[in-house]
């Protein structure tokens, strides 16, 4: 981070960044024995890839049945450039390790799907190519979903092409709400009132589980109350998770469990998978979950078909609380020998028909605004609330590789769990989390 500085991107800075990357690429090439990497990346309308082949990594499970898509992609790419594709599916759980190992061993693919929170980390390490110029040249810079652009931008350079996005909102049981005479709440007070009614009508159900091993549920309430996770000051980041606003949000969220009893002690150690399991068993009235979950919930328990709805996470006094905008970028790796060809593939996958096909099949939102608008107009009851959430309240976490370390240390979940288990007060737990974040930020 500090080597390159940050803030406004001037000519010289970009030059220095390029030099830095080039020297890193040389070092990678020297250590990986890869002689062809490091050529200047260019945008061209037509790239000939006759007789060439690109390796591509895509995360497994995003698209439940990805084979037809891959066949279409191979055909389209062959038609356009004449090159072949070698597509590999990588499970999310192994992906980070696999990337790190391939970066270390010089065996990175040409193009890969990179989770948005990993992009700054790999870019900072010098493994990904800077796409800023080619995105400009291709005239795409105005059409990309801003949250995904922010998440892929390091020191002014864009290192990940937005591919698809997902966002968390509230997923609820329409039948349970109807029976209790409750409509989706639009403010925090209404959320509590709805919870009380649901709890009275269904004492055996968990009204609104607050999972202690997932950080993504608390962010909307911190942001909704006007707080921030951390703020950038020049070159460095400083934590703000213990600000009065943030504490107010954390208190409201944890009080849903502690004061109102909408949760269960078991949820104190739940992660998002446990949360989904409980929902698909029919134990949960509403929960914070991703736009990609409703399909999986019905698949796990077909009885829930038609009984699942969604609404955006309400703001304190109406409106929408921002929620973390997650998703994936497509990245071109620096060590690739055919970067122009790789960029041609990224363009093909992230725009137009291929991007549309992917988001239709996977249930995620496309990474370009023009396609996103199309989805919003379709008005599907479990899709459009998420689209509203994304457009009106999509937010990103601090875009620095150091925040990856904060997540690795589970700082925010540890804070939640200690509050939920009664080990610490909101004030103590949040100031401890802030200290831990600052310690990590200062190491950078």
């Amino acid at each position: 981070m500090r080597k390159f500085g940050s803030g406004g991107l001037t000519r010289t800075r970009r030059g220095a960044l390029g030099l830095g990357l080039a020297s890193m690429v040389l070092a990678t090439a020297a250590c990986g024995g890869d002689s062809g990497g490091g050529e200047e990346l260019q945008n061209a309308d037509e790239v000939s890839g006759e007789g060439k082949s690109l390796s591509v990594w895509i995360m497994e499970g995003t698209n439940p049945d990805a084979d037809p898509y891959v066949e279409d992609l191979k055909t389209a790419f062959k038609d356009e450039t004449g090159a072949d594709l070698d597509v590999q599916f990588v499970p999310w759980a192994d992906a980070h390790d696999k990337f790190v190992k391939s970066i270390a061993g010089g065996t990175t693919p040409d193009v890969a799907e990179v989770g948005t929170t990993w992009t700054p980390e790999f870019a900072d390490a010098g493994a990904l190519a800077d796409l800023t110029d080619v995105v400009d040249e291709a005239g795409l810079d105005g059409d990309l979903v801003p949250g995904l652009v922010d998440a892929g931008t390091v020191d002014g350079g864009l290192y990940g092409m937005p591919w698809y996005a997902g966002v968390r909102s509230v997923v609820y049981r329409t039948d349970v709400f109807e029976k209790a005479g409750v409509t989706p709440p639009t403010s925090w007070d209404e959320l509590v009132a709805a919870g009380e009614k649901l709890k009275a009508a269904n004492p055996d159900m968990i009204t609104f589980p607050v999972p202690g091993d997932s950080e993504y549920g608390v962010y909307p309430f911190v942001w909704g109350a006007g707080g921030e996770i951390a703020a950038q000051e020049g070159d460095t980041w400083a934590s703000e998770i213990d600000s009065p606003e943030a504490q107010e949000g954390i208190s409201f969220y944890t009080d849903l469990a502690k004061e109102h009893g909408f949760s269960t002690p078991a949820a104190t150690t739940w992660d998002e998978a446990d949360l989904s399991d409980a929902f698909s068993r029919g134990d949960v009235a509403m929960m914070i979950a991703g736009s990609w979950t409703p399909g999986a919930l019905v698949e796990a328990n077909p009885d829930l078909e038609g009984k699942i709805g969604a609404f955006p996470i309400p703001g304190p006094d109406g409106g929408v609380s921002p929620s973390f905008l997650g998703g994936s970028h497509l990245g071109v790796f620096e060590a690739s020998e055919n970067k122009d060809l790789a960029w041609a593939l990224v363009k093909l996958m992230a725009t137009g028909d291929m991007a549309d096909e992917w988001s239709q099949q996977s249930g995620f939102f496309p990474g370009t605004e023009s396609l996103l608008q199309k989805v919003q107009e379709e008005d599907d009851p479990v899709v459009s609330p998420f689209a509203t959430q994304m457009v009106d309240g999509g937010a990103s976490l601090p875009v620095t590789p150091l925040y990856g370390q904060v997540q690795g240390k589970k700082t925010v979940s540890a804070m939640l769990q200690s509050i939920l288990s009664g080990d610490a007060s909101v004030a103590d737990a949040s100031s401890q989390a802030a200290d831990e974040m600052d310690e990590i930020f200062n190491q950078g």
Partner: protein, 338 residues
């Protein structure tokens, strides 16, 4: 023995004559051929043993020595993802160790969790294993066969599977134990989640580790029990020794080397316990109270990409284990001399 010189002087003399020779006895078979080698009778050249051992040595070097040296080197470096990509490395001297040693987490959480957990688990594993071995020794061949197979299943179960079973048993909502105790009115399932508290968390981990570890101890000690001469136990019984005194003063001293082996191995296993803690709810970093040296090292190195710092924790864990094993072996040998 003490009375024999008076009754049979002749025997005692021959024994005492043999005694000085005895120590050289076992050494002799090993010593003589080596002298012949050095004399060079041409049958076994000096490099041949090394050549024959080469495959094993290569495997040992690749799997043990290299990673060990690499971890030691890493612990003196500031090594993150960038260093992994560029292949550069920056030496930071003892910075990593200073950071670990001045972290209150080490003294208040990780070290006590590791050491106390290991001590309790080693004791329980060996105690339960011994008790089961004594029971097995009493049984007839059929019952023993069935029981041995049953405990082998506990041993053969992968740590991951076993851990999930124990976690499920104690699950705060659907767990068998929670539901049983809840229906008896002994705990309140509305307010209890055992995994969030340090002692219950480690009690469940202890049940898991002891359950997984005792079969090895039981089988090893059973093998030892088979070698205890029946005559000695009978003699002790005739002298009026009860079951406990026979075990304490006859069996235990005879099986001391066996106890030493199972205790040292259990100590090593229980100190570096990782899977059984990491996979429990909260064990992978959300519950800071239950970190031990193994999980702390892993989270630091792998989840945070701070490989240097993680390596330093691992080095400290190794040194701690070496010291404990050395002290334990020394006390054992000292007792032997007495």
């Amino acid at each position: 023995m003490t009375t024999s010189p008076d009754v049979q002087p002749g025997v005692a003399v021959t024994e005492s004559r043999q005694t000085p020779a005895a120590p050289s006895g076992p050494a002799a078979p090993g010593g003589r051929p080596s002298r012949r080698d050095r004399a060079g009778n041409g049958l076994t050249p000096g490099w041949l043993p090394w050549l024959l051992q080469a495959p094993a040595l290569v495997v040992l070097f690749g799997l043990l020595v290299y990673p060990l040296v690499r971890v030691a080197v890493l612990s003196f470096q500031d090594f993150g993802l960038r260093e992994l990509v560029t292949g550069e490395s920056s030496w930071v001297g003892l910075d990593n160790f200073t950071e670990v040693l001045t972290d209150p987490l080490l003294w208040k959480v990780a070290l006590p969790n590791t050491a106390v957990f290991a001590a309790v688990n080693v004791f329980l594993t060996v105690a339960v294993g011994t008790a089961v071995a004594l029971l097995l020794a009493k049984l007839g061949p059929w019952a023993r066969g069935i029981l041995t197979s049953a405990i082998m299943v506990a041993w053969a179960m992968p740590a991951v599977t076993g851990t999930y079973v124990w976690v499920y048993l104690f699950d705060a909502r659907d767990g068998f134990v929670m539901q049983t105790l809840g229906s008896l009115g002994l705990v309140d399932p509305e307010t209890t989640n055992w995994f969030t508290e340090r002692l219950p968390f480690f009690a469940i981990a202890t049940a898991n580790v002891v359950h997984h570890g005792f079969p090895f101890v039981a089988v090893t000690i059973l093998a030892g029990l088979m070698t205890v001469p029946k005559e000695m136990l009978e003699a002790a019984a005739l002298d009026g020794a009860g079951a406990w005194r026979r075990f304490r003063y006859v069996t235990m001293p005879l099986l001391k080397p066996v106890f030493a082996v199972v205790t040292i191995l259990s100590t090593i296993w229980d100190f570096k316990v990782f899977t059984q803690i990491y996979l429990m709810p909260g064990g992978s970093g959300t519950n800071r109270e239950v970190l031990n040296l193994g999980t702390w090292s892993y989270i630091t190195a792998i989840s945070q990409n701070r490989y240097g710092l993680g390596a330093a924790i691992a080095v400290l864990l190794t040194l701690l284990l070496l010291v404990i094993t050395a002290v334990y072996l020394r006390t054992l040998f000292k007792q032997e001399e007495l």
